[in-house]
Every structure is written in C-alpha cells, then in structure tokens.
Symmetry: C2
Subunit: 596 residues, 2 copies
C-alpha cells in the first residue's frame, strides 16, 4: 500500500511544525537530546514500518481472527513478525525515559508516529500501544522495583501489557467489580475473579503478559472508593526472565465485528488451573496505595483516551485518503450544467456531492488529528512546562478536553469511514476494498475506554464543574485568544461564530447546573458533549487556518476549504443542541421504561 | 427468536388500522375480496413464517456466504427451505392479480407482511422481493404473452427474477451503459455486455431466473434516451417449463460487508459460453417500447425504492427491539441523583442516556415504518382511488415522497442500528449478539437502488420542480391539513414547528431554483433531501399522535414520548440545513479537486 493512502505526512508536518511548533519542546531538559531532525526521523521510521510491515496484513488478520488451539491463541504469523520489527526499532519505548532504554520523546511526536500504525493496521498496533499505556501507569504509580521488573522488559518489546478493568457484569460501572484481592503474609495478594473485554489478554506474541488489574481488597469501602490496582503477570518474574505460570487463564475470545486482529479476551484470575507457589489464586502486587486504584488508573486515562481518539481519527483518515484516491480515478456521470450525454464521464471528484463528502471527511479527520495532537502536546506541557502554573493550566485544559478528544473522533472519524464507503458506492461495500474494514474497525471506538455516554457524564458532570468551573473558563480563554488573532482577517466571521458558540456554551452550562437536580442536569450530557466537541473542533480549524497564514498552493487552499466547510456546514449544528440543553428538556427523564 | 424481537405487531396494527384505516380499501373493486380479517391473516402468516423459517438462519447465512462450486452458486440449505415455505404459502404473489394466482392484496398490506421478512432475514428475503418487483414491472409493461410466460411461474414461486441495470463502469450513471441488444429477424434480440451488482443474479434456488435488463439498441439516441428494457431468462421458456440454457453466465460473486445471504453477482450476457439456438448472444425480448426502457424501469422504481426504505426501517426496527430487550434485562450502574454504591444496579433502561438512545431509535424506526406504509398506500391510491383526480394526486405525492422514503430510513434506520450496538456496549460489537449484523446489513441501503446523492438530485432536481412545483405544493397542502387538525390540542406547538419548517422549505426551494445555475442549485441537494426528510417524518409523527388521540396505556404514551422526542431533538436539525441552502453556499462547488 502507498504511504499516501495511510496518512498524510504533509498534514502531520503542518500540524507538528507549522502549527504546534513542537521543536520548541527541545528547549526543555527532558527533550534536550532531540531536535527537529530526530522528531522527523521517528515519524519517518514509523511511517516506513507501518506501511511495509503493518498495512500488508491488515485484511489478512481481519479474515483470520484469533482462535485457540490447544489452549494457545493462534494469530496469523504476520502479526508477530510486524511487532518484532516494531520492537527492534525501539518504538515500543518511544516516550519512556532513556534510563529504561526509551527514546524520551514528547507525547505529541510519539502520537504522530503512533497514528501511522493505527491507520495502517489498528488490530496489530493495539498490542504495543496497550503495553505503552501499561508502562506509563507503572512508571507513574509503581514502585522502583516494579518499574525495573516490568517496565524494562516492556520497553525492550519482550513483554506486553494489558489494562484489565471491566468485568462481565460491570462494563462501564467499575463500582460493581467483584474481583477480590486477598493479602498474603509476604505482602503479595491473591486475586480471584473474571475480567471481560481484555484486549491483548492472551497470545503467544511476547515472553510474558503484564496485566494491570482493578480489584477490591475485602473489607474496603463500597463502590469505586474500594478499588485497588494490582500488577498480575501471566508468568511470575524470575531474574530478568520468567518463572512459574501464574493463575491467569484464558476463558474465552470475543468475536467482534471489527478490530479482529487484536485478541479480546475473557480472563479468569485464580480459577485454580495453575497454583503458583503451590497455592490457589493469581499472584498480584499492589500498585500505589490500597483503595486508590481508580485514581491511579484515571491518572493515565487521559493519555489512553486521547490515544483512542487518535486511533479513531487515524482510521477515519486512511478511509478518507482511500476515498480521495478512488474519487480521483473513478469516472462516472457528468455535472448538471450543460449535461451532454455524449461527453466523456468525469472523475467523480468533480461532482459536488462527492466534494461535499470529501470535504466533510477531510474536516473530520484533519480536525480530529489536530485535536489529538493538541491534547498530546498538553500531556507534554502538563509534565514539562517550565512553571508550575503552566503545568497546572495544561492539566486543567487536558482534563476538560479529554472526553472530547476521546469521543469526538470516535463519532466523526466513523462518519468519515461511512462517507468513504459512500464515495466508493457499491465497491465500498465489498471486501475487495479496504474501506468497509475501517468502518467496522472504527465502530469499536465509541464503546471502549469509556462509552460516549460515559464521556458525556465525565465532561458535564465532572470536568466543567471541577475547580469551580476553571476548566471551562480556561478553555474559553484559550479559544478567545485564537479568535482575537482572527479579528480583521478573512476569518473574522468564523471567529465571531466561534465566540458566540463559546459564550452560549458558558450560559448553557450555568443553566444546566442551576437546575438543582443532577438527573435533570445530566439528562442530555451526551448532547452537551457533542455540541462542545463541535465548538472545540471549530476552534482548532480556526487555529489551523491562522497557522496557514497566507500560505499559497493546494495544501493551504485545502485547509481553507475544509475550515469554511466546518464553519458553514458543521458548527451550525450546535445551535439546536444548545437550545435543547438550555430548555432543560425532560423528555428522556420523563419517559417511562414501560412506554417503549 | 421471539416475534417481539423481530417487529412490533402492535405498532403495525396501529399504523395499518388506527392510522391508515386500510380496511377502507376493501370498498374498492380490486380489494373487494378482502376484509380486515384477511389482511390480518396475511400479516400473521408472514410473521409466523418469518420468525420460524427466516430468522433462525440469519446468522448462519451471514457466516457462510454464497460461493461457487463447479460453476454453481452454493448457499446454506436453510435459504431454499425457507423460500419453499414462503412460496407454498402463496406470499410470492401477494399483490398479484387473482387470475395469475395472486392474493390481490393492497401494497400497504403486502409491505407490512414484507417487513417481517426483511427484519427477520434481509438476505434470504431479497430473492422473492426482487422477484415481485420484476413481476410488477412485467405486469405493467410486458405483453400479455410475457406476463403469461414469466409472471405466472414467478407468482407460483417456481421462477425468480432480477433487475439488471448497473454495469461495472456505470453505477449510478445509466446513461453510460454499454450492453448492446441487436435485433434478430424473429423479433427477439441478442444481448452482449456485463452487468454488475445483480442481486439474486445466479443461484440454484429456482427453476429459472428472469432477468430484466437495460440495454442499448445500436443506432439509438445517446444517453438515457437510448435505453431499452429486455426480459432475458437464464433458461429459455419451453411450454410451461424451461428449455435451452441462455447465454447469461455468472462471472463473479461480490463479497460484501453485510447482506451476505443474497448473492450479488457480475453477469456476462452473450459471452459465448452457451449458444442458444446455435448462435452467440443472450436471447432477450423487448419489454414495452424501444428506447423507453428507463421510463418503464422508473415506473416501478417508486415501489422498489419504497421497498428499500422499508427494508432499512425493518433492519433498524429489529435492532431497536433487541436493544430494548437488552436494556430491560441488563443491570448496570445507578442514576446520578442519590447515587449510592451499595444500592443494586438498575436495568440500564433507567439511565437517561439509554432512554435517549432508545427514544431516538424508536422515533427513527416507527417514523420510518409510518413513512414506508404511507407511501405503499399511495401506490394503492395511485392505482385504485375512485377518481382520476385522486389517482393523479396520489401519483404526484408519491413521486415527491419516493426519494425520501428510500433515503430517510436508509440513513436513520442505520442510525437506529448504530444506537442498538451502543446500547449493548461491548456485547453489541460482538458476533454473539445480532445487532452488529443488522448494522452491516443496513449499510447497503444508502447505496443500492440509487445512492443518497442520486435521491437528493431526484428530489431537488426533478420531483419538486415537476409540473411547476405541484409535488411540493401538494405535500405542503397535505401536511397543512394535518397541522390544522392539531390546532388547539396538546400538539399545537409541534404543528406550529412543522408549519414553519414547511414554509421555510418552500422559500428555500424557490431561492435555490432562482439561482439560475443548475450546478449551484443542486450543489447541496443531499442536504436538501435530509432536511425535507426530517420535516416529512415530523409530520408523520404528528399524524401518529393525532391518530393516537386520547388513547391511554403504555403504547400510546410511547407514541407521544417519541413524537415529543422528534419535535425537540430531531426537527430542529433542519434549521441550520435550510439556512445553509438559503445562502446558496458555494463551498463544495468552489473547492478544487487538487486542494484535497
């Protein structure tokens, strides 16, 4: 597959350098070993490996989903081969510190590299990216010994990691998990329970699998306040390698509509199949403090959720590029004016409705990429900005943007995939073209790592009210700085529209929270999430055209066209949504279950 | 599978009897042999056969898609078994006249029966429904001999039929078809060419397959004015059975994302594999007049497109019913107010966001069913209304509603399927639950029988301007009669909103056509289609609640809740769309292909 069908290097360069000016990060101590050349080299390397080793087996892995033979998970061999190349290139440790063998890259550059893999083959790329998220969590909350034991082999690409939160009876409701962790005399714990939806939960791709597991220590508080975090490896560590088999057993593989290259598992902990140390129960060690597991997990959740959003954008992006390629080469029909049946058919990109679909998709995927990279850079700012105030501000802004960075691309990246099928017509519905797989793959993203509904409750129920509403105020101030720069330019009317929408979001938020009834306030949290998401992406389109300045040529003309599209076709969608919210509508609340 | 998961008999009864009062059709000569009991019996029979014989192999046929062995198409045997039951029950000829062995049912009753099969198993049901469309076309445009030769065995369920329009190089652009039909001395034709996307194009399910083929007679006018219609059977008829093999050859099966139970084929005509009568070329006979083939095909297109829309609604409907069932039985989490982690989790239907998703889906699928049945009844009115004026009015209204009846459920039925997955969470993304298949199956509907873009051009470019705009005027008058009835009721504000939207559609339509440039007028035809579609469905929700009157109980309360949802959450979407259209926005027109 051509690299130009996977992701746009030109757009990444624009976003990273012309807009976000990531090279400035090298003035900070953590990134001082880098310069623009090393950043670009990593993105080049990622693009090359993604195109050469990941894209070619994307369909194959979809058609040959993981299955179990003699208790072991069998994948097409191309997955292991690609991950070997990935690991050997050092990409598994892109953002990890040098002392652990990492490249010590900024998140924003790492995510730009990551996007190539997600676009090329989201199924195979999930293994290392889950491992990275796991490593970051251990790095932030684990003991030095845990970091040495688990993070180093993950950084080397020898061990993989998972995040084991959900349970069959408690998907989004972590308060209801029942996995138990009983303390042993030696300070370790024995875990018993069942975890569901664990991606990468079992396979033969790595020497070991490091599960980070949420569980409850008996006697702790009810609900989320009694959740602790444990590291539970498939094989107990021994020296620098592995020892005894732990009692973590594959209980089943989930058969999905898409994302099939990633094993998704039901895991039993402490079922008694293995008896490590001669005793029943899966051996685990507490990470961080007891009963503070959810906070630790959520500490890394921003990064994980931004990553999911970027994956959704990447899938939408590659779908868009395929649709664009098809629309340029497929000839059919003629435009309405002066329609002459004896004239040759035109490339379908010349039809207005095809241009509309492509502009919509472009505005979604380039807007989503801007959102994801902006948030990734906020992670860097949160960790490395020069002053505590700047770090705190980055944290606050990231908190409020995270539910949007997760959900907006999940919705609109999928919409781009839908449009990519439509541009292809009947061909897009066949498995001879890749766009139908992107659509199936991307349908997972509004579900995992917190559903759309959960993100809406997070945004309206927590993020915009935290700290007396400082998150939303900071967002408004940040957007206002952009719109102020647009005054007097050709983008003044767009800036006015954005300003008006931001002001209205502020009013509506106040109205919602004045209801005095959390049920009424939160009844339409998803609508709120959608509206604020569109306002944020409108702002980022304004940012992009301001960064484009008076740049000439097709690339900049394309940015301007997509920005105009977003202003005229997309931003106005929020008007009715905000009107609905302002009315404190009770339709959903008042509808009784038995009426359906 | 329970019938209550396939379709709602209660809703069908409401729509057919309480709202559309279909029993009144029995006062007309064609339907005089029927009464409410016979109508209900047909729907009962359809429900029973759909649930017992079609639903059980829906997943099986998806997982074992058609393949070719020794030149023959192999399907899972359950398909043939189900179609045998269907044929023996006489359902293949539901709407056909009694003299051909048909039941002479109204379209509206037939479509209500049909919806059960589309909801239960859209892949298997496509064979007889394509056959019915074929039979209706021959009945309207074929010679008496053609009717006797082809329609009778189709009515008996022994022969199946197809519609062969598209070609690989000319999907939506029929002007560019290149299949040639050369006249022979005996009045027959010999066809040569390739047809693409032919559903039911080859299989071993029936004794014969009757293709209705669009082709060009050499020397005719260019473009669509040179298209003629031919009947081209797989086996030449002989007596009441079949004779020599015709030269129609399966060139390939398309492998689709969904709708897999229906073979979808590439067919070669006149490839020379068979030489009927000792000569090359596929033997065909002209149906209707030469060069009038497209008009004949379009005569039946209203019915076919309404049928596609109903299929999209049916798939959305069954997805909604599955989501509803899941939401009532799955417990998880607690509502925000007074959240107590020690309280038991509630059925998820008690969460506002789940109710929002279910209300949205309900409003889409019940709205879509109302739209489809209303249009089916217009087919009956067009054919059997007492006076020529009434028949002409029904025709005019059907013409303007058809692109909406096709595209609106294709978009929103699919949206209902998307919501059904979301209500199920991770489970909905697995193949252990049926909702992911409904979503994949339904994704075809915005593509076939005229894409969404084609429907938009049809509505704005043809239907609303035909006859000096009489279609839109009649629609407005018809809607106005409904809103007038709502004055003074609890639905007065909904009626006012609908009136305002209808008035605005009229203004915007005039503005668009005043542009003096067809490219500018039609640049956003798809946006126009979406907006008018939502206005029409809002009207039909108003119709439904007026029909519900002061009915008490959960069913009527549900209708009112869904209507309120549609008024408050859905109808307002059209405001920004109509604003955009009124501005004669040129964003898509002015964007150059090289800017992408």
């Amino acid at each position: 597959m051509r690299a130009s069908l996977v992701l746009s290097r030109r757009d990444l360069d624009f976003l990273l350098h012309e807009w976000l000016q990531v090279e400035q990060l090298t003035q900070r101590e953590r990134f001082a070993g880098h310069d623009r050349a090393t950043f670009d080299a990593v993105v080049d390397l990622a693009a090359e490996i993604a195109v050469e080793h990941f894209a070619p087996h994307n369909r194959l892995a979809d058609e040959n989903e993981p299955h179990v033979v003699d208790g072991k998970v069998v994948l097409v061999p191309e997955v292991a081969a690609a991950l070997k190349v990935f690991g050997e290139a050092g990409l598994a440790a892109g953002t990890l510190p040098e002392e652990l063998g990492g490249m010590q890259l900024p998140q924003v550059v790492s995510k730009a590299a990551t996007a190539w893999f997600q676009a090329a083959n989201v199924g195979s790329s999930a293994y290392p990216f889950l491992t990275m998220a796991n490593a970051h969590l251990l790095l932030a909350h684990g003991s030095p010994e845990q970091v040495e034991t688990y993070v180093r082999p993950m950084a080397e690409g020898r061990w993989f990691g998972t995040m084991a939160l959900s349970e069959p009876q408690a998907g989004s409701s972590l308060a209801d998990i029942t996995t138990r962790a009983e303390r042993c005399e030696d300070g370790s714990f024995r875990l018993t329970g069942t975890k569901m939806w664990i991606s990468g939960g079992d396979h033969e791709l790595s020497e070991n699998i490091v599960h980070l597991v949420l569980a409850k220590v008996p006697g702790g508080p009810a609900g989320v306040k009694g959740i602790s975090l444990f590291v539970v490896p498939k094989f107990l560590p021994e020296g620098e390698g592995i020892g005894e088999r732990n009692d973590v057993v594959l209980a089943g593989l989930n058969h999905k509509m898409g994302y099939r290259g990633t094993t998704n598992t039901l895991l039993n902990f402490g079922e008694g199949v293995h008896t490590p140390g001669g005793r029943p129960g899966a051996v685990g060690w507490l990470v961080g403090e007891e009963n503070r597991g959810l906070a630790a997990m959520f500490h890394m959740m921003n990064e994980a959720r931004v990553g999911v959003g970027l994956g959704a954008t990447a899938l939408g992006y590659t779908g868009y590029l395929h649709a664009l390629d098809y629309a340029r080469t497929r000839t059919q029909g003629r435009p309405p004016a002066g329609k002459d049946p004896s004239a040759s058919p035109v490339p379908i990109i010349e039809h207005s409705d095809v241009k509309r679909m492509l502009l919509a998709a472009k505005s979604y995927v380039e807007g989503g990429l801007a959102l994801g990279l902006y948030c990734a850079k906020l992670v860097d700012e949160e960790q490395t900005a020069p002053t505590p105030d700047e770090r705190a501000a980055a944290h606050t802004l990231l908190e409020v943007l995270t539910p949007i960075a997760k959900s907006w691309p999940s919705q609109w990246g999928l919409a781009a995939n839908d449009l990519a099928i439509q541009v292809h017509g009947g061909y897009g519905y066949t498995r001879d073209f890749p766009v139908e797989q992107f659509y199936r793959d991307n349908r997972l993203n509004p579900i995992h790592e917190g559903t759309v509904g959960i993100q809406g409750l997070d945004l309206l129920g927590r993020k915009v009210v935290a700290g007396g509403g400082e998150g939303l105020r900071l967002l408004a101030t940040t957007i206002g700085a952009t719109t102020a720069r647009a005054a007097g330019t050709e983008w003044a009317s767009f800036a006015e529209d954005v300003d008006a929408a931001v002001a209205r979001v502020g009013e509506v938020t106040a109205t919602l929270w004045s209801a005095g009834d959390p049920d009424a306030t939160l009844a339409n949290a998803t609508v709120y999430l959608e509206a604020v998401g569109h306002v944020v992406v409108a702002w980022l389109w304004l940012e992009q055209v301001l960064a484009a300045g008076d740049g000439t040529g097709d690339f900049y003309a394309g940015k301007r066209a997509a920005a105009r599209y977003f202003q005229r076709y997309e931003l106005p969608r929020v008007g009715p949504q905000l009107d609905l919210l302002a009315s404190l509508d009770r339709t959903t609340l008042d509808t009784q279950p038995e009426w359906f």
